[in-house]
Symmetry: D4
């Protein structure tokens, strides 16, 4: 028997994958079962609608939608499901993601999309936010998040070494 898939990552285009891969790596490292599908709201609408409608029944708990330009993907998925949908705006257009950010975040009252930062920072945060949701029912994951917070602190502390010694505050 296979483990259930908890997180579904939907990409509006395979060209977004390089910006999303770090998020996938993080989910894998943290032992969160997930899947990645490509399904554009505009070019493959039935695929997106079906994914949204069936996700909960398939055991998916959180959906991450990644899209650029007039990014309708997260909103269309959120219209089809009551699962939490996290939106990640991609920066691929001439407007550098201002278009996809506003298309993702400015949802009307009634149908929320939890929007992250533009680009790969947002993709990574979408994975962490999904983990924060799942951790509410998973003490092991809660511990992993605590350790992640410590790791962030340690990374920051170590970054001080990248400042030349003459300028650095002595500890």
């Amino acid at each position: 028997m296979t483990a259930p898939t908890d997180v579904g990552i939907v990409l509006g285009s395979a060209s977004d994958w390089p910006q999303v891969e770090p998020a996938a790596v993080l989910l894998k490292e943290w032992g969160i079962a997930f899947e990645v599908v490509v399904a554009s709201a505009h070019r493959a609408p039935k695929r997106v609608q079906a994914y949204g409608r069936e996700a909960a029944a398939r055991g998916i708990k959180v959906i991450i939608a990644v899209a650029g330009m007039a990014a309708h993907l997260a909103g269309v998925l959120a219209a089809e499901t009551t699962l939490p949908v996290i939106g990640v705006p991609m920066p691929g257009s001439h407007l550098k993601g201002l278009d996809s950010l506003l298309s993702t975040v400015q949802m009307p009252a009634g149908v929320p999309v939890a929007t992250m930062a533009i680009g790969t920072a947002g993709a990574k945060n979408a994975a962490i936010f999904a983990a924060q949701i799942l951790a509410l029912g998973d003490p092991r994951l809660q511990e992993r998040l605590q350790r992640h917070k410590q790791e962030l602190e340690e990374q920051v502390a170590q970054q001080g070494n990248q400042i030349p010694g003459e300028f650095r505050r002595g500890d």
Copy 2:
């Protein structure tokens, strides 16, 4: 036997009606058969999908989609049909329609939405643009458009009278 409906106007919210009414009045005056429906891409997705899928078979020739905020309505309709879809961004949010404009116009390659100006000017132009499309197969409508151009010119000419005489160029 009733006349076929040529233009379908889809509103994301009934609250947009006052900004769209002048467009409806224009279509009526020009003898273009149309219908108005309310069908939000986010709050009533099946209704929107069905409208898009069935429009061509029902004889609709042009769809006008009116929506604000993260305006996905036009894009979702365009994903479901090969009919021309005209998008009108509404200004109702705190960002005054910049969000709905970018959400409507920045469509990815493959699925066009013909975008008009924000608000009631855009709604009226959507009606005229629909008439321009229909006029390609309707000489009477082509004449009406020619007359409309003359009316615009005459209105401009008459507006000169609103400038106080002391400042106005004498004709």
Copy 3:
């Protein structure tokens, strides 16, 4: 014995309350236990830090942070906790919420804030999104969300009546 508090709403200023009240009403109607506190990241930082640090231990599951201008509240809370933090940008400044939106959503990799639309639509969606998270472990709430989706559809269907009959599509 009292029910535990699941959702903590933190307002950067009491002046944001009128825009948040509809969200509070929705949570109450849906039977979700919540609390509202005022705690500015800039004017009362210890209060915010303490709230963030203690929230999980107090049983809070989701935090909603509401702030305007250089809206640091959600980010500061997210820095202190591994609970999901939802950010709602307020529009009170001269820049109409563009400042609070970017201050809330553009979080660096490592510390996510789930950002909603600017203003009261975003506040209401924050409440619904919190419910979507909690519903993952609460079948009754899951049903409430399903019913909410139906209510949205019905509202849209009824809105058609607000279009004057002469323009409306006959059903």
Copy 4:
């Protein structure tokens, strides 16, 4: 006897051609007769005015206007004709096309320009939109558009293969 030219593409500058070429290729593949002319609204106004005034009489059915910066080309053509004019904003300025987008889309009531996305995505969509208009009177083209929609769906389905197998959803 030669076939009539259905679509006129007007470029504000020959330097825009590389971004427009994919649109021309698509029109050719779909068997739509078109022509490409260079005619700046600012540097060659008579040429633009003449093109707009004569287009309908020459048998043109749809005009596509491509321009950057203060992009007046589409608006000036629309002022001269009752044919549908599609505007494509080019991104060549320091403002990355925000200027040409607003200059193209924000037309006053009375003279519509159907605006597409900034850059080559918009150019390609202008061609598809022109096809959608022409297809209203051309069943063969209508079929071609249906097939295009299927091709888009198939492309999306195949893009899944670009996601590394370990992350991909198994079908």
Copy 5:
């Protein structure tokens, strides 16, 4: 024999008159002969083209073009004449004049438009700038401009009285 008209003010719409009136009053007070016409680039293109083509021969020396939204008026006039054209963006759209500013100022190399601030401040400055141009060949007007600079200084000096005495710097 009447004095020649030196400045031609072209309004895209009579509704812009209230914002332009102070500019007209200033020109009158300074004894500069001018005329005001209404002539939209989109709704009355022939009128605009004719105005631009004939202005120099009629003795006009400077043209002021006032328009909102996708403000093409100044650019279209500048395309038709080698006279200096001053553009004043109007704020009447939902985007508060950002659209008309970019549509007016971002002219391509070869066809300049001298752009002023959005709204009535810009209109007044257009009148002053026209006077600065005309003053190059008119010593009396040059003196008037010098006096205007002194008046500005005196106005600023007197404005100090509007600050309550307890806060004001004593002279």
Copy 6:
């Protein structure tokens, strides 16, 4: 013998006074000697230059410059003095202060302007920031600032009472 004036507030226009008055009141309450002058960089440049050149010799320690639109006042003062210059962008234009913010903050390397938020919040913060500078050499003022921080915390704590009791967290 009178106390020396420590802070000079320069207004680009007396019309900005209502937004600046709370800052003046705060400085007065905190016992900081200041003066208010009106001196536009564009309409009264000599006055501004003289103010900047003489301020240090007159004993001024900090200059606060308040201006809207193309706000050059702070930059022009900073060019004339080595005193700290604080800039406050005013929102009076059609662009709501985005223009004055960028005109104030984007100073080239070599000549800093310490920029505050747009409008009255920024004016008040300019006064507090001036106090923070002066407090480096004034223990009494340092104490006042500490008390101000406590007052801010207490205000936030009391604001909780404005939330209806049924929603409020019990303390």
Copy 7:
């Protein structure tokens, strides 16, 4: 005896020269006497003030001011002279010239700056606009401008050859 200098080009920084050189070449080709000076409003204010104050007496007729970031140069010059001042915003900052555009164009009523497009297009247009002003008193220059308009038209006509023959409209 040397010819008088008609146009003064003031650069805020020598690093802007490459974008301005085409403008200088054009002025030279057209036989317009000009000079180029470097004089930052922030780093060399006395130099700028002196230039502005003395320009008219030195015989300068038009000033072109080129600056980036918080571009105060044009405004500061305009404050010192009644000559026409043309402003050219440079794009060198992270905001790509939006900052310098707004800092240059949004001048308050009373002190106009004639603003051109961002970057080298704007610089070239500043030179042409200066020529248009000077041509009011110089028939030879007026002829040169007429020829320039013809050259622009011819260039556009020839650009058609850059479109591959299979796509080009046959003449």
Copy 8:
């Protein structure tokens, strides 16, 4: 006994160091004692809070906070201390620093952050502004700032040599 540290530079990320190094070099050259630490408001909040709380007691007089994206660093430090806090927005995100600028400058009334330009120009100006503050109590530093102003003027004067001689104004 070592000299006290007057300026504390806090970087949100070590990756910002290259843009900040010129500021550090300037402080060193001017003999101002400073330290550089890395301490993210989001990834290492306790470190930031501790730095802010202890800075005054450790003898720090001015804090410079450098951060990108949703830049909360300066605001969080300002919340913890009554020392002057200077904020420098970094341009590292897809929005080129518009996000970090607004996140830094739009502080609510009560807690000022003195904001500089985006990127390395802003970092250098932060160092100069810190020197201007310290110079109020340090005549030697005041002299250094005077000399800096002269150096800026001389640099500008010498930049004239970079303009080719044929275009340059003869001195």
